[in-house]
Amino acid sequence: MTCAPAKGLLEAYLDDELDAAQRAQVAEHLASCSACAGMHAQLLELRSAIRSHAPYYRAPAGLQDRVRTALRHAGREATGAWRWIAIAASILLAVSLAWNFTLWRPHAARPDLVAENIFASHVRSLIGTHLLDVPSSDQHTVKPWFNGKLDFSPDVKDFSAQGFPLIGGRIDYVDDRPVAVLVYQRRQHIINLFTWPSAAPGGATELSRNGYHMVHWNAAGMAWWAASDLGAGELGQFAGLYRQ
C-alpha cells in the first residue's frame, strides 16, 4: 500500500473500522513509512489527550431518581386519560363475551380462560394500533428482537414460500404472563401465533368463535395458539407447517 490510500484509511484504522485485510495492509504500511506513522502517532496522542483530559460528565446522584419519578408521573397522567376508555372497552368486551357464551354453550365445550385471552388479544390486535412491535419479514430480525424482553426465545419460522409470509412480532399478555406473538399474513388475513413455555402435553385442538378460528397445540415444552379469520382448513394447514 502506498501513502495516498493509507492516509485515507488512517482514521478508520485508528477507529477499528477496517476489515482484517485492510487493517493488515495499513499496519504493514505504517511499519515502513515514517511520515504516515507520525500522523498515526499524532492521532493516537489526541485520542489519549481527550480520554484522559476532557471531562466525562457522569450523571449526578439523584438524576436517576428524578427521571424515574418523571416517568411514573407521566404514566399516571396518561392512565387517567385512558382509564375511561379502558373501562368502556372492558364493559363492551364483557357484554360481548357473555352474549357469546350463551350462544356457544350448546355447540362447544365450555371454553377455557386461555382461549378467551387469545381470542380477545387477536381481536384487539386487529382493531387497535398494536399489531406489530417489530415489523419485519426476516425471521433473523424478529427472533433476536425478543431477546431481553422475554424469559424465553421463541422459535421463529417463515413460510413465505408456502404463502404464509412472516410480517413481524409483538409482545402481548395472555394468562397473566408476557407471551411472544408472531404475526403472519395470508392474502388479506392476519394470523397471530402466540407462544410461551408450557409443561402441558401435546395434542391439537381446534376452536371456532364468531367466524374466527383457533388452533392450539403443545410441542417441545411450548404452548402454541394460532388465531385468524382464515378458514379452518387454511389455518390448519399453517399449523401443520409449523408443527413439522
Binding site: 477499528d16 449526578p60 404514566g75
Partner: protein, 175 residues
Amino acid sequence: MEATPKLALFEKTMLPHLDAAHNLARWLTRNEDDAQDVVQEAYLRAFRFFDGFRGGDGRPWLLAVVRNTALTWRSRAKALTHVSFDEEIHGAGLEAATVETQLAEGSKFVDLQDCMELLPVEFREIVVMREMEEMPYRDIAEAASLPIGTVMSRLSRARRRLRDCLSARMKEVSK
C-alpha cells in the same frame, strides 16, 4: 406507583445509558442545569416513542432522542448556535491573561475542554460519541441521523480543528 410492564422494560433497556445521555447532553448544552433538564425531557420523549424502538442496543437510539432534545432546547438556543473556532481563538475574545492563568495551573485539562467546547456542535457531538462513548461509526450515524460517510468526514475535520486549537494555545502561551 408500580411500574407498568412497558415502563419496567423501558427502564431496564434505557436507564443503563443514563451516564451516556447526561454526558452528551452536558457537552451539547455546556451547562449542567440544562443538561439535567434535557436528560429528563429526553427520557420522557423516549418513553413516548418506545414502541418504535426495534430492540438491540438502546444507546444509539436513546442518544438520538437526547441529541434532538438538546438541539431544540428552547432556553439555551443561544448557547447552541455555532461558535466559529477562528473568531474565538484568534479574535480579541481570548484574553492572554486567561491563557496565562491556565498555564500557571499547568492545565492541559482546561485547554482540551475549551477546545472541545469551541468546536461547532455538529463536530463536538461526533467527538463525544466516538472518543468518550467509543461508539462505532454505525451507531454514531444512527444517533446523529447522518450517513456514515458524513460521520467520518466530520470526525476527521473535528480532529484537525482540535489539533489546531491545541497547538494555537501552545503558541499563545509561549509568546
